[in-house]
């Protein structure tokens, strides 16, 4: 069954090609069949491949499938090679499953949109790119998938391109991630030139042989890869694009946040974790970035009014946890959290999409309320996702993965007390903003009547994802991945759990029991100032606007108006002036011409005589 591996990325790619070529001739039903069906084929193929994978002997489970040579130039031989190991298997399973569910959901939720076929076309390409990225056995092929993901995010964030704001958000996402992509490309070239191969397995083996731990080349390469991952995964300092990426349709947000794009950075770092083991400094930077981002994003999520922006900041914060885990060397825990996050975050986005659609495209949290009885299915599924996000102990999947990361931050190979403290505070903040979201949307007094209930496709998807969110620990992929066991003492684990519980209780007290108190805190002078600071994501947009965007625009204006056009405009103006002077002498009076002729002749003779 392993031979079917090629079908996994190629099925969505085929769906993309069909839709791209024939989308004007296909009816809506056919479009949905192709768009969802291709992801379904990929899911089925992934299932078959997984069955074949488990049939392999337990030691050294790796399968490679070579689909031909891509570039062969001198020492460099990049192949279309698919590499399946435990990590790729976990990623493939999540991407195909969540991708399929999101596409199924959008078949219903996007039904009224005029760009129906275009939407599925891009979404299929998105899933295909992510699968190429995940399954690539060659760094160059991985980079192809990486760029494909970036392109699709641009196309889908700007899906409703008639709004200038959406087009701006798409451009912002593309340009900001491009900064990271450029660093990643440089990092890849460093690895190629140093190692002479682009095959990931061979490259990591050679790196471990040639580079001593902590060597400067290894650190440089690791830092460049980290910069790429930071851009894609929306971590400090390239995090500004993610909140604006909410401009796209809700299923797009779900896909970007859960299965594709944002998690690509986490995957890259896990894939290259051998390199980070050689560069402890780069690993420390990763952990610090993750800790800073999770706090920044968590506090920003506390004050957002837009439901989708709360979820966006929450994704940044959760990916920050994954970076902390990667930084302390517990990449297994990072992948565990990736799996649970993919499930509960897609669930939260899709449920939020149902709420927003039911309220007539209302995004403002404070204009919602009391939807518990009116949208019961959405409420219970959203609650399951929110509980998982807030790490409600014992029942939810998110609890186990977050606990593992906190334990790793405390006791892992490169852990530290400060990292743990940041994670624990972050857990409390996460629970607080999650509770705020749930209580504001579903409890309290109803401000608006929902106009529609989710149909069967949306409901099925929500129920499946909700069941996975509260399924507990069995999503843990670490028995497959291997890696070190983390032995954190019980008090540490209990403290982390207590932090999350405290957040939930605080949210209940503030937003349900005493809503007036929350309002008073928000309106006090310090509260209002903090709110203004946090709602813009700690002012990073303003800062980047000031440092980069304005000078750049100023420079382009300069280049356009003054520097280059200056000489040409002067030439033009001089000629204009000369022309005006000449035409002033052509008066049409013959006698003046004669006088000028005579004067000229006299002058010429005078020169000839007295020279």
């Amino acid at each position: 069954m392993l031979e079917l591996l090629w079908l996994v990325p190629l099925a969505p790619l085929g769906g993309f090609l069909i839709l791209a070529v024939a989308r004007a001739r296909l009816g809506r039903r056919a479009v949905a069949t192709v768009g969802v069906g291709s992801a379904g084929v990929a899911l089925a193929a992934a299932g078959a491949v997984a069955a074949g994978f488990f049939a392999l002997p337990a030691a050294g489970r790796v399968y490679e499938q070579n689909l031909g040579t891509w570039i062969s130039a001198g020492d460099l031989a990049a192949r279309f090679v698919l590499h399946l190991d435990a990590l790729a298997l976990v990623m493939m399973a999540v991407v195909t499953l969540v991708g399929f569910l999101i596409l199924l959901y959008s078949a219903e939720s996007m039904a009224g949109d005029e760009g129906y076929a275009r939407f599925f076309c891009y979404m299929n390409l998105f899933v295909a790119s992510m699968l190429v990225l995940v399954l690539a056995g060659d760094l160059l092929l991985l980079y192809l998938g990486w760029e494909g993901v970036g392109l699709c995010s641009y196309l889908l964030i700007g899906f409703w391109y008639r709004e200038p704001a959406n087009a701006r958000a798409a451009k912002k996402a593309f340009i900001v991630t491009r900064v990271g992509d450029a660093a990643l490309l440089v990092g890849l070239l460093v690895l190629f030139t140093q190692m002479g191969t682009s095959d990931i397995g061979g490259l990591l083996a050679r790196a471990a042989e040639r580079w001593p731990t902590g060597s400067s080349v290894a650190t440089l390469a690791a830092l460049l890869l980290l910069a790429g991952a930071v851009g894609k995964s929306a971590q400090l300092p390239l995090q500004v694009w993610l909140p604006d990426a909410m401009a796209g349709p809700t299923p797009v947000s779900a896909l970007i946040h859960a299965a594709t794009m944002v998690t690509a950075g986490v995957y890259l770092l896990s894939r290259m974790h051998g390199l980070f083991a050689l560069a402890p400094a780069a690993a420390t930077v990763t952990a610090v970035i993750g800790a800073a981002t999770l706090l920044l994003a968590g506090t920003s999520a506390l004050v957002q009014r837009d439901l989708k922006r709360v979820l966006a900041y929450s994704t940044m914060s959760q990916v920050g946890y994954m970076f902390v885990a990667l930084g302390v060397g517990a990449w297994g825990a990072a992948i565990f959290h990736f799996v649970t996050h993919a499930v509960f975050k897609s669930l939260l986005f899709l449920a939020a999409g149902a709420v927003i659609a039911a309220l007539g495209e209302e995004h403002d949290l404070f204009k919602m309320g009391g939807l518990r009885q009116r949208l019961p299915l959405v409420f219970w599924t959203f609650l399951a996702g929110a509980a998982s996000l807030a790490a409600l102990p014992l029942v939810t999947a998110g609890f186990y993965s977050k606990e593992e990361i906190l334990a790793a931050a405390w006791a892992g190979p490169a852990g530290g007390r400060w990292l743990w403290a940041a994670g624990a505070v972050g857990a409390a903040v996460t629970a607080l903003y999650t509770g705020r979201m749930v209580f504001l949307v579903f409890f309290g007094t109803a401000k608006r009547e929902p106009s529609q209930q989710p149909g069967w496709a949306m409901a099925t998807v929500l129920v499946i994802l909700a069941a996975l969110s509260v399924s507990g620990w069995w999503l843990d992929p670490r028995w497959l991945l291997g890696g070190t066991e983390i032995a954190a003492t019980l008090p540490v684990r209990l403290a982390g759990t207590a932090a999350a519980l405290a957040g939930i209780v605080l949210a209940w007290y503030f937003y349900l029991r005493r809503p007036a108190l929350a309002a008073r805190v928000a309106q006090s002078r310090a509260g209002a100032a903090l709110g203004r600071w946090w709602i813009g994501g700690w002012g990073f947009d303003w800062l980047y606007n000031f440092i980069f965007v304005r000078p750049y625009v100023w420079l382009t204006q300069l280049g356009r108006d003054e520097l280059l056009d200056g000489p040409f405009r002067t030439l033009g103006r001089t000629l204009d002036l000369a022309h005006a002077g000449m035409s002033w002498t052509v008066t049409g009076r013959v006698r003046w011409y004669a006088a000028a002729l005579a004067a000229g002749a006299i002058a010429a003779i005078a020169v000839a005589v007295w020279r």
Binding site: S583, V586, G588, V590, R591, A598
Partner: protein, 102 residues
């Protein structure tokens, strides 16, 4: 034969030419402008003859014949133009004919 000195001949030519030029610049009537041009041509011809006499060569008189022919042609063309302009605009004022200004 009592000969005239070349200097006095050239002075008369210069005076004639200046008179003609003055007429061209000052007169607005086209007929007078044409007559003034005729005077300037004759001044030039006189200068030629004087120069020929000074060098004892026939070239000056040959040039006079040429200038005579040129003057005749100029008057023929000039009068025709004047006639046409007068028919069109009922005036002989040179300053009126200035559509060719830039």
């Amino acid at each position: 034969m009592n000969s005239v000195s070349p200097e006095s001949g050239l002075v008369v030519a210069a005076v004639l030419f200046a008179l003609g030029l003055g007429g061209v610049l000052a007169r607005r009537n086209m007929l007078f402008v044409l007559m003034s041009i005729e005077i300037m041509l004759n001044a030039a011809a006189l200068a030629m003859i004087t120069a020929g006499a000074r060098h004892h060569a026939a070239d000056g008189q040959v040039m006079f014949m040429f200038i005579l022919a040129t003057a005749a042609a100029e008057v023929a063309v000039g009068l025709a133009i004047v006639l046409l302009i007068y028919r069109r605009r009922r005036t002989l004022d040179v300053d009126e004919a200035r559509e060719m200004r830039g």
